[in-house]
């Protein structure tokens, strides 16, 4: 029976949500096509997490548990994935489209001689072949792609596919020690100051643009973001002006995001910014200029001065949350 192998990502021993999404989508597709779902997990002291993956659809989990796998290594993780792929001969290999997934997928695909369908937002099995939809030109267009004659590595964009539980416990099989040296070594991980959420994985994003007038006014954006459990995003203009770190930039030369709620404050909506966020489920725009292009993609908006709109919006949301 054909199967989909899902690489499951952990950080500090915790399974990433985006991997559970990938696993759930694999299960959905596999159920329709009569395939099975296997998972592969690499890390250190992660064996206890492996059986839990059954709940998300894996019937079998291959585990590579070694101290040197605690932190990410493209070379060692690729060796682990190849080991698992040799055991279950999958027709596709899924992984979350995270920083790790984007880094690992290229190396694994080249090692296996498979293609890679990157950053996909929709998947289907058509006549036994996996067909993916992926935003290209930063979301200005959507391409449907397949992997040709070989199986495909597929990276799934985080926050797009629902994570669904309901499976049984999985059978766990330990993999032998991963072969090969690790040349590129992760020495340490520096956490961002304040432990802020990252726009690439946030379910809600509140962004500020030139309309916020100065870097100090990101405090207002942060206050609204904090209230909503949101990440703070930014337009290219304010990143280039040095008001906020480039890691916060949303758009064609920043992050391309698909949160369930995107609130743009003082962002006019240059084509590059719209490309990066227009696939968000609900878009809210607050801008003084009624002709700002951002209103063309907005589901809700207020034409007005953000400094007069955002404070009462914060107060009202706080009130609604208190009532709930």
């Amino acid at each position: 029976m054909a199967c989909i192998l899902v690489f499951v990502e952990q950080r500090n021993g915790n399974i990433r949500k985006a991997s559970l999404e990938a696993l759930s989508e694999a299960k959905r597709l596999a159920s329709g096509a009569g395939w099975s779902v296997c998972a592969v997990l690499a890390g250190h002291a992660v064996a206890a997490k492996a059986a839990e993956l059954g709940a998300y659809g894996a019937s079998k989990v291959y585990v590579a548990d070694e101290e040197r796998l605690a932190r990410y290594s493209s070379e060692a993780y690729a060796a682990v994935v190849r080991e698992a792929a040799a055991k279950c001969a999958p027709s596709a290999l899924f992984m979350a489209g995270t920083a790790l997934g984007h880094d690992l997928s290229g190396r694994v695909a080249a090692r296996l001689g498979w293609g890679c369908l990157a950053d996909v937002t929709k998947l289907a099995v058509e006549g036994g072949t996996l067909v993916a939809t992926r935003p290209v030109y930063s979301g200005k267009a959507l391409a449907t792609v397949d992997g040709g004659a070989t199986p495909a590595v597929v990276t799934l964009r985080p926050n797009v596919f629902p994570a669904a539980t309901g499976g049984a416990a999985a059978e766990v099989e330990a993999l032998p020690q991963a072969p090969g040296d690790i040349r590129a070594v992760v020495k340490e991980i520096l956490a961002k100051e304040g432990g802020e959420l990252d726009v690439a994985e946030a379910d809600v994003i509140v962004s500020g643009g030139r309309g916020i007038k100065g870097p100090e006014n990101f405090a207002l954006i942060r206050e609204l973001a904090g209230l909503l459990g949101a990440a703070v995003g930014a337009s290219r203009a304010v990143v280039d002006a040095g008001w906020i770190d480039h890691a916060n930039q949303v758009g064609q030369t920043g992050k391309v995001v698909s949160p369930s709620l995107y609130i743009a404050c003082g962002i006019s909506g240059a084509i590059q910014h719209l490309a990066g966020m227009s696939s968000s489920k609900i878009i809210v725009a607050i801008n003084k200029d009624p002709d700002a292009p951002i209103f063309k993609v907005a589901d809700y908006g207020i034409v007005g001065d953000l400094f007069q709109v955002v404070p009462p919006l914060i107060a009202e949301i706080r009130k609604l949350k208190a009532e709930a």
Binding site: A99, G148, V186, I189, H246, I271, V309, E316
Partner: protein, 264 residues
Amino acid sequence: MKSCVLMAYVPDTASVIKVAAAANRINEADIKWIVSPYDEYALEEAIRFKEAKGAPVTVLTYGPERAQQGLRECLARGADAAVHVKGGEGTFGDALAIAKVLAAAVRKTGPYDLIFAGIKGVGSDNALVGAMVAELLDMPHVTGVVKLEIGDGSLTAHREIEGGTEVVTAPLPCVVTAQKGLNEPRYPSLKGIMAAKKVAIQAFAPADLGLDEGALAGAGATCRWKTLALPPAKSGGVILKGEEDPAAAARELARLLREQAKAI
């Protein structure tokens, strides 16, 4: 010491994208082409490496005739040599096919101590070629680099991940892909532009590198674009007037987000 930069010549990020009649590629009629912005960071880092260590920079691209313009631009910014593998129409969007061609071009013109590339070519947005080239050449790689220190025989790179950065060390030779924030690319100087015109660009066909482009694009394809479409246009947004009573508009927005959109 020598380095090379893998460059993609892509539609300007300000381009309005239209779909071509064949319905699986963009309509190139009104497109202005640019060096992919992330490749500009890669090139800048290679030039800084040259300034520090005297390592000459070769820019390598795989693309149609027009890509030569991108190579000239890189030469004008300070690259020393340029290599153009001509073709790429059939393999467009297939990162592994592209990586195979670029890896072959590296083998032909190298060796290089460092291979720089942008984290992704804007357009096909795969973000795969750097790591694939590293694997094909049996080199380590670091993607999404925002800070780089190159020592003797090794490097230390800061790589952007969700919520922070990874500090990675790797021996040379190594593939490094550049993320925004790595540096501030310089503009070409007039002197550079004049000098760039005199550099002979080395040109190859994929066959010169021992590759059958027809097979890469045909039976051996690993990522095929079947259809291309524009995303559905949005309409019917509820836009409130907040000029006169911003507080009332804010209250109404909060109510809509809660009751109608169920988003908060």
